[in-house]
């Protein structure tokens, strides 16, 4: 499960609304809550909210534009989407200067290199943690269930910060750092709402640390969905087998990956490299074709390694050939 900002927006206002009903007679409260959904979608301003809530709503809107619409826009509309997205982020920051999601998303666009973005994330990480923990400490709610959710929501900007930092660490070639950040995040959030374990698997493969990956897999076993490893873990395993030149095992593992995901051959032949979601990893259905496409895109660091004239990398070339679609995709180019 990755982060859905609209759901989080809904949760934030829902919590606040529920709290505003505390003390009211239960029948009236139930009646009032029945109208929440409609008011949320049609008349937001009629709901109680703080500036931080308003800012987060703008972040959710900006995410839709930048992460979900921009990748499919043509050049003419791209410019406009970017501009609108950034206006929303600016507004969010004007409302709440501690809106760390907005800050992080803005910096993603303004950084001129992976390195400078990574530096920015690394430099402010402790401050973000302190701010989120402060917000969590201020969370109070009569219902223990709601208190739990509120505390979790308070920490999410920091979780996303760390998850982004881990992802960028891999891209910058800092795989040990990526593992350290992932483990730190998993300790804070054992449910791994950021799915940072996906990033961590890639980092272990980059370090060719098979024993480390085995240990990590054992530790995160309760998080495995539907009893099957995710595409990131599977791709990391394929890469490790390829790296130790166990080609038969690499083939077997790749076949398993192809059996796990629909239309896997096409995705593995195309190896599209997509821009990373700036809010968080895009929310896609587990074990969907889209999820595989995301994993392959993040797995570029494994696929495009080594000296290879085709520009696809040694593993990338091998994988594309294994799909049997390689010739077809090259002919289309």
């Amino acid at each position: 499960m990755s982060y859905d900002p609209h759901r989080e927006d809904y949760q934030r206002l829902g919590l606040r609304f529920a709290r505003s009903l505390d003390g009211k007679d239960p029948a009236a409260a139930t009646r009032a809550f029945a109208s929440f959904g409609r008011r949320f979608s049609q008349n937001r301003d009629s709901l109680p909210q703080s500036d931080a809530d308003r800012a987060f709503h703008l972040v959710a809107e900006a995410t839709t534009l930048i992460d979900y619409e921009l990748p499919f826009a043509d050049d003419a509309h791209a410019e406009e989407l970017i501009e609108r997205g950034h206006r929303l982020l600016d507004e969010a920051l004007a409302l709440d200067e501690r809106c760390h999601d907005a800050l992080r998303m803005k910096q993603a666009a303004e950084s001129t290199s992976f390195e400078s973005y990574y530096d920015f994330l690394a430099k402010s990480a402790d401050d973000v943690r302190a701010a989120c923990e402060e917000a969590r400490a201020q969370a109070h709610d009569e219902s223990p269930e709601r208190a739990l959710l509120e505390a979790d929501i308070a920490m999410r900007p920091y979780y996303r910060w760390l998850a982004t930092q881990a992802g960028k660490a891999v891209i910058c070639g800092r795989n040990r750092e990526a593992i350290r950040l992932s483990e730190k995040l998993l300790e804070l959030d054992p449910q791994d709402s950021s799915d940072v374990r996906f990033t961590c698997a890639i980092a272990y493969a980059k370090l060719e640390d098979e024993a480390g990956l085995d240990l990590f897999a054992a530790k995160t076993k309760p998080l495995v969905r539907a009893g099957t490893d995710d595409a990131w873990m599977q791709l990391s395993r394929v890469s490790l087998a390829h790296k130790r030149h166990d080609m038969r095992e690499a083939q077997r593992l790749l076949a398993h990956l192809m059996a796990t995901y629909p239309h896997a051959s096409a995705a593995l032949a195309a190896q599209k490299e997509l821009p990373d979601g700036v809010f968080s990893r895009l929310a896609v259905a587990p074990f969907s074709e889209d999820e595989l496409i995301l994993a392959i895109s993040e797995g570029t660091v494994l696929l495009q390694e080594g000296r290879d004239d085709s520009g696809r990398g040694v593993l990338g070339t091998w994988v594309a050939r294994q799909t049997g679609l390689d010739g077809a995709t090259e002919a289309r180019r």
């Binding site: 070639g173 750092e177 290879d308």
Partner: protein, 324 residues
């Protein structure tokens, strides 16, 4: 050692073995005689094959000297032609001496395979050698390189190590390199260079330190460059900056070589000889490090921005009339 000197030694060793134990003085005299007329001492098909290969490689190297004068198309055409010729020469040598390791090794290199296929071919050769000669082990003399007839097999390992690096198999590359260092600690084939790059890529500071101290912290272009990459990857930026400074001050034109890497042609089969810390050496180091450097996308941009690293590189280019 170049292949010609090696041919002389092979011929002298074989003749000396035929003559029985020679005194050092007598052996030196024999060596002189062989050097004068090597052809007359060739009576073993393996040596005949080796001599032909040595000449074939010399022909390729000679032709490469004019590469700078060729435009891209002419260069590619010439390169294809001379590699094909080398492949034929290797096939001829193999007919003479089917067990010639050098003919097999050079034949694989001349085929200009994709790195993955080259690795397959080299590993196949490794298996055959293991079957025929038993496992590669350190001799009683302490260094397998002392036996001139073992050079081919040692070169296969050096080549395996480099090819593993090229195919992004850094752990394997390091293992082949370490195996070679184990049987030939004097390391004339420079296995330590490949190891240093791989250990940096694997962010293995301990392994890197052990390798460094094994060679008495002597240092060379590979080790200097690998050190910068290692610290950079570990996020230890002050150390990375110091290492970069060391790299720039020790390696002649290192800044230019790093920021403007050039194409280096296939090693046949050895890495070309270069003076320590010379521009030629650092050019080779940067070339070999390419897959590792590419994996750290902002590394060169970062280096450029440190102090006057970029300015020095540009000044170096201007001083030597190189393009920027």
């Amino acid at each position: 050692m170049n292949l010609h000197d090696e041919l002389i030694e092979r011929l002298a060793r074989r003749r000396s073995a035929q003559l029985g134990e020679l005194s050092p003085a007598a052996y030196d005299e024999l060596l002189l005689a062989v050097r004068e007329h090597p052809q007359t001492y060739v009576d073993d098909p393996e040596d005949q094959a080796f001599m032909q290969l040595e000449q074939a490689v010399a022909r390729v190297l000679h032709s490469r000297e004019s590469d700078d004068l060729r435009d891209d198309d002419a260069f590619m055409e010439e390169r294809t032609k001379r590699m094909a010729r080398l492949a034929r020469d290797c096939a001829d040598a193999l007919e003479l001496a089917p067990n010639s390791t050098h003919a097999r090794l050079l034949g694989i290199l001349a085929a200009d395979l994709e790195p993955d296929q080259q690795l397959d071919a080299l590993m196949e050769l490794e298996r055959e050698l293991d079957q025929r000669l038993g496992p590669l082990e350190a001799p009683a003399s302490g260094d397998a390189w002392n036996d001139v007839f073992a050079h081919g097999r040692l070169r296969v390992y050096a080549c395996l190590s480099r090819t593993c690096l090229d195919t992004a198999r850094y752990r394997m590359a390091n293992e082949y390199g370490q195996k070679l260092l184990g049987v030939s600690p004097s390391d004339p084939l420079g296995a330590r260079h490949t190891c240093a790059l791989c250990l940096a890529r694997l962010e293995d500071e301990q392994g890197f330190g052990e390798l460094d101290s094994r060679f008495g912290h002597r240092g060379d272009s590979w080790q200097q460059l690998a050190r910068v990459i290692l610290f950079y990857k570990l996020g230890r930026m002050p150390a990375a900056r110091r290492a970069l400074k060391g790299f720039a001050s020790l390696c002649d034109g290192g800044h230019y070589a790093l920021l403007r890497p050039v194409m280096v042609d296939t090693y046949l089969p050895d890495r070309p000889a270069a003076e320590p810390y010379s521009f030629q050496e650092v050019t080779l180091a940067v070339h070999e490090a390419d897959p590792v450097v590419c994996d750290v996308p902002d590394f060169c941009a970062w280096a450029y921005e440190q102090d006057d690293f970029g300015a020095q590189a540009e000044a170096y280019a201007e001083r030597h009339g190189y393009g920027w």
